[in-house]
């Protein structure tokens, strides 16, 4: 089949697509045992789609790995398992069993401890357990200030430590992929994408995403100015709280008790893109774990968070 020369993708998206593919191929050529961190969200959907393109006609030369805190939305887990099946990719699901045994959860332990144990520690555990030397992540530089200074190939010393003062300079497309035994690399192949471009790309490429991104009537409670969806019976309700049906969607997905919803009418990707273009708050506002303190992302990253 010979494709027509007229590309449907706009030029800026074609450029981003080619850049990400180049980075992914580079990592696969340079590392012995890469893995793709799959968080089920929109960025992961795009990352997986781009990986399929990068290695076509070969299958994905690495597995996907989901760090499951056991508090993800049910629809996310369903979507994750369906996606792995549909795409025919290997999926590893890792849970920090030690954290479960200690009874860590986002409600009683607080978001900071829950994130530390069930995400950061779990990720480090899993990387060590499987001996992965490179991990793809879908983080973007436009998400947050400390991410803006992150490298594409982000070096981690033994113990997965990130030192923002001692990063390797990154020039042109010449990446330094050399590491020693025990050291690892995080590979942020989508560093230069923005949230709007992610949605534009999903629209043009018709990439499936978790239905939670689309507005629908869902049961929520109002807490500290945030709409929290009651996804299962584990969310303890105060006496004054009665879940109400509201038409909501999510801009960003994580553990359900920590993800704030927005009221929205957007039921299609075109609606979401249109809504994005007039949005007045950032996507991270819905993330309760980032607001603990201003520099909290940098702090979490130093400790090994993605």
């Amino acid at each position: 089949m010979i494709r027509l020369e007229t590309h449907t993708l706009p030029r800026h998206l074609r450029r981003l697509e080619a850049e990400t593919i180049e980075i992914m191929r580079e990592a696969v050529a340079a590392f012995k045992s890469p893995v793709m961190l799959y968080s089920i969200g929109k960025d992961s959907s795009v990352m997986l789609h781009l990986a399929m393109k990068a290695f076509y006609p070969a299958k994905l030369p690495f597995p996907l790995m989901h760090i499951d805190t056991t508090w993800k939305f049910r629809e996310m887990i369903t979507f994750r398992d369906e996606t792995a099946k549909r795409m025919g990719v290997d999926l590893i699901v890792h849970v920090n069993k030690d954290g479960i045994a200690r009874g860590i959860n986002p409600i009683d332990s607080g978001s900071a401890l829950h994130t530390q144990v069930m995400k950061t520690d779990a990720l480090k555990q899993a990387l060590d357990l499987y001996g992965f030397d490179a991990a793809f992540g879908g983080a973007r530089r436009d998400e947050e200030k400390s991410r803006a200074k992150e490298r594409i190939f982000s070096f981690r010393s033994v113990g997965h430590v990130w030192d923002p003062r001692n990063q390797r300079p990154e020039l042109w497309n010449l990446f330094n992929t050399r590491i020693r035994q025990g050291e690892t690399m995080r590979v942020f192949a989508m560093s230069n994408w923005t949230e709007l471009e992610i949605w534009e790309y999903i629209m043009f490429e018709k990439i499936p995403v978790v239905p939670l991104y689309f507005a629908r009537w869902r049961p929520v409670v109002h807490r500290d100015g945030t709409l929290i969806m009651v996804d299962d019976e584990r969310l303890p309700l105060l006496q004054s709280e009665t879940p109400q049906m509201r038409r909501i969607r999510f801009r960003t997905l994580g553990c359900y008790p920590l993800s704030g919803a927005i009221e929205s009418e957007a039921t299609t990707i075109e609606d979401i893109v249109a809504e994005m273009q007039v949005a007045t708050v950032s996507e991270r506002q819905g993330r309760l774990i980032d607001t603990d303190e201003t520099a909290s992302m940098e702090k979490k990253k130093r400790e090994g968070y993605f």
Partner: protein
């Protein structure tokens, strides 16, 4: 998709991307400018503005006003210091273009970050404080932009409000800059008066400067025509990854660095010179008939020829340069100064060259005056014009012609840090003109006559570890077995061939290089060559290994604890070193980097030399170099 139903689609269709950097001296207002651009192009959300107002009250330098610089000064540490210390990437978009901004620091010791930001930029905004005019750092940054191949400059004379919007001051600065920059080869220089803090001439023309007739900064960014850098150049395809999912498919995955390619076109593999034709251009979205610069594709060829990662597929009529020696501008980026002669790894395109070196520094460039200064080494943030050498040939184009195939990075082999960045100028014809003289009798014939297999046995270890004693016994035993061998000893060579060398790091590198070359000649003569050198640096031993060839190189690590060596001190050198009579003595005030995977690791303490020599012979026998009876 229904184009009518979604108006943003048609709009986005013509959209392009522009990558630019902002540079200038400390306090020229770079971060404020970027914050202002993000704010005025509505890229800052309400929650971010609220956080900004909070931070402005805490860290801000603008009194009660919002300090836009705090939006972009990301890391906690630099917020406290009030300076940007690294490259930060910012994104904003208008209906015409999407922009990626590299915010690079103006602080003197962070030249390397500026070069990093400039390496992927098509345009530079150079900020000047209207009160201060053109400074040494303005010149430095302009020079680096020019060196890194940026063709378009916007000269933003900032804080024009603080000089009462005066035209004469603006004109004076522009004249100064243009006369200085005329030698830098920019295709365009666009001056404009701005106030990043108050927004004059940022997104629209300001009434405060009615004498200024040009576009606003954002209008200019949206409309400037940036010629495609690589489309019109000859075809270059650095092979990144060989895609081989089954026996029926062998494709070469990579991104087209320059030019374009069609199905049926003839290509050559740069180093081997082998040629073939393009059979298919494969993508996930279907095969292409034609593909151009910047596209990530997978190419299959008509013929089964040897192609692997690092090879460059190229146009047969316009071939790239292939050379062992070439000249390049290098920017040094590490605290550890460059050591000419030492082995470094180079990355050129997808080529990983692990046995390269900087053979000499022709001169260093004073970045403020652009004067050439003699130099024996380069320190952090220094720029030099250097000759580089590689054991295996490298494929490239001059950087000023092709930024994608003419750039390189330098990596320290022991720390794995990126220590330098280079722009290749030309291959050194002088070496290209020395054609290897073919010899009709080779190593194989010469060694066959002696009934032996030649190799190089390389003993490394501290002074007093016993390596020369063991080497000597090995030599005697080989002689007794009627083998033709030769012993090269560090101390002995320093009395002749290496008489002119000292014990500095540079001279130690040269000492080992000469020993390695001598060993290689003797290997060619068919001999078993026994070398005994402290050779403290891993990089240098690896250089000899690649010179000799991995198969015929046997590294023997004589591992004796330093305490034991000091106790023995056969030549009285340790006591001299300790009393300061000898400087740079390995193990005392100079490092020893132990081999991690030697062919043979001799734990020498408490063992008889005779016994250790037998273990060396056993190792040679296991590797098939000799036969033991």
């Amino acid at each position: 998709m229904d184009m009518e139903a979604s108006p943003c689609v048609g709009e986005a269709d013509s959209k392009d991307q522009l990558r630019f950097i902002t540079c200038g001296s400390v306090d020229d207002g770079k971060s404020t400018l970027i914050g202002r651009l993000l704010h005025d192009s509505k890229m800052i959300y309400q929650d971010q503005l609220r956080a900004l107002a909070r931070d402005s009250a805490k860290h801000g330098t603008t009194g009660g006003d919002i300090d836009f610089a705090l939006l972009v000064d990301g890391l906690e540490a630099e917020r406290q210091q009030g300076i940007t210390i690294d490259v930060a990437h910012r994104f904003f978009t208008t209906s015409h273009r999407s922009f990626v901004v590299a915010d690079t620091p103006g602080h003197e010791q962070y030249t390397r970050n500026m070069a990093t930001g400039a390496s992927n930029a098509q345009l530079a905004i150079i900020l000047i404080d209207a009160r201060k005019g053109v400074l040494a750092q303005t010149k430095r940054h302009s020079f680096i932009c020019s060196l890194l191949g940026i063709r378009h400059v916007m000269l933003a004379v900032n804080k024009i409000d603080l000089v009462d919007y005066r035209k004469d001051i603006f004109d004076g600065i522009v004249n100064d800059y243009v006369s200085f920059a005329s030698e830098l080869g920019f295709a365009s220089i666009t001056p404009l008066p701005i106030s990043a803090r108050y927004g004059d001439n940022i997104t629209k023309r300001s009434r405060n400067t009615d004498w200024y007739q040009g576009q606003s900064l954002l209008d200019h960014l949206e409309t400037i025509h940036i010629e495609s850098e690589t489309t019109d150049l000859p075809f270059r395809f650095p092979v990144q990854w060989v895609n081989r999912p089954s026996l029926d498919f062998r494709g070469y995955a990579g991104t087209i660095a320059s030019g374009s390619i069609s199905v049926g076109d003839e290509i050559i593999v740069a180093v081997s010179g082998l040629s073939s034709r393009v059979k298919r251009i494969v993508t996930y979205d279907g095969d292409l008939a034609v593909a151009g610069a910047g596209e990530a594709v997978t190419i299959t060829l008509e013929d089964e020829i040897d192609v692997s990662r690092g090879d460059v597929l190229a146009s047969p009529t316009h071939r790239p340069e292939i050379a062992h020696q070439f000249a390049a501008h290098l920017i040094w980026m590490d605290q550890e100064p460059m050591v000419p002669g030492r082995s470094y790894a180079f990355r050129i395109g997808t080529q990983s060259i692990t046995s390269g070196s900087i053979s000499c520094i022709k001169y260093k460039v004073d970045v403020n005056t652009r004067k050439q200064v003699a130099a024996t080494t380069l320190g952090l943030n220094e720029i030099g014009f250097c000759n580089l050498a590689t054991v295996l040939p490298a494929t490239f184009d001059p950087y000023r012609i092709n930024r994608r195939t003419g750039s390189l990075i330098v990596i320290d082999l022991s720390t794995n840090r990126t220590v330098g960045a280079g722009m290749i100028e030309f291959s050194r014809r002088r070496t290209t003109n020395i054609v290897q003289q073919p010899q009709s009798i080779g190593k194989r014939e010469r060694s066959a006559l002696m009934h032996q297999k030649p190799c190089v046995i390389w003993f490394t270890g501290l002074s007093g570890s016993g390596k020369s004693t063991i080497a000597n016994i090995v030599d005697q035993k080989l002689f007794a077995m009627s083998h033709h061998s030769m012993l090269l000893d560090g101390d002995n060579l320093r009395q002749g061939l290496n008489r002119d060398l000292e014990f500095t790091e540079e001279d130690r590198v040269e000492n080992i290089r000469r020993a390695g070359e001598a060993a290689r000649l003797m290997l060619e003569a068919g001999l078993i060559v026994i070398c005994s050198f402290i050779s403290p640096y891993k990089a240098d031993r690896n250089m000899v290994r690649s010179l000799v060839g991995n198969r015929e190189f046997v590294e023997v690590f004589v591992d004796t604890p330093i305490e034991e060596c000091i106790r023995r001190d056969p030549k009285g050198l340790y006591s001299k070193a300790k009393s300061g009579q000898i400087k740079n003595f390995t193990g005392i005030d100079a490092p020893y980097e132990a081999p991690s995977t030697p062919e043979l690791h001799l734990k020498a303490s408490g063992e008889r030399p005779e016994h250790l020599a037998d273990r060396v012979l056993n190792c040679l026998a296991e590797r098939g170099f000799i036969t033991l009876r």
